[in-house]
Amino acid sequence: MHKRLMSLAGLAAIAFIAHAVEGRADTISYADAVTALAKECGADIKKHCKGVNLSGGRIQSCLEQNAAKVAPTCTSTLASVTTSIRQRQAAQLAYSQVCKHDMAQYCNGVVGDGNILACLIETSRVDGRRCDQAITDAGWR
């Protein structure tokens, strides 16, 4: 019983670490995400999704509908690509909120989104670490 509890605790710890790592995992660019999709699913898309476009989740639905015929590597890539794109979008949306304080403190008076970002990157030694991480996750370094 004791042993079992220990292993449960171990599993929980692993799950916790995995979750923490997942939360901090580097996001990847949209370009890299869809490059993986083209590489692993290109043949299946051409074979099973002729005439289907990369918009409105259509490629995803098509590959899911044909899951039985689609290469397993494509199915797993599709899942990770979808997650990657979502993570990058979330990171980009989070940026202005997470960095709000740093913008006010270090870049007050700087005009223009691009200039504000450049200012934040320049002052990153004093920036809050969360803002720093948000810029990295958004892919704007």
Partner: protein, 189 residues
Amino acid sequence: MFVTRIRTLAMVGLMIAPGYASAQQINHNQLMGTLGRLEQGAPAVDVALLAEELAANAGKGVANLPNWQNLSRLSQLVVEIDFENDSVAIEPGPYRTIGMIADALHHPNLARYKFLVVGHTSSTGDAMHNLKLSQQRADAITDALSTTFAVAPDRLYPIGVGKEWPIDAGHPAAADNRRVQLINLGLLR
């Protein structure tokens, strides 16, 4: 045809850049630099007027029309995006190009700008068919950018010019004219 190579041509200010032959694989920074350069006194472009001029001149070309001439003074980029034959479905090969454009459009340096997405064809085939297909393809790219990559749709203006505005005016039948052009129209209002 499944083309994995991504040939890209960056141009600023000129429709026909002398460096066209050295079309190259472009990276994120080049893309940002090319699309983000905003010249002083860049003309304001009315997309509705472009469409009007185009509709009134199908078959005759638009390069010398006043509103189309203005476009040549704006920051722009020409990319190759292959579609399935006579279809609006983008081949998997150029997904990367679309993704790179999305990365650039989401960057704070470009986030406030709106863009014209111009679909081109070569001079092969019927003018009206080319016009229609290029519009549908420009729409398809805009659709991919605004759904899969969450670029705000009010920043993108798709327009198909068919063979009316050849990229390589000296060789309108060349495959190099089957391109998509992104033009920075300036700040969102």
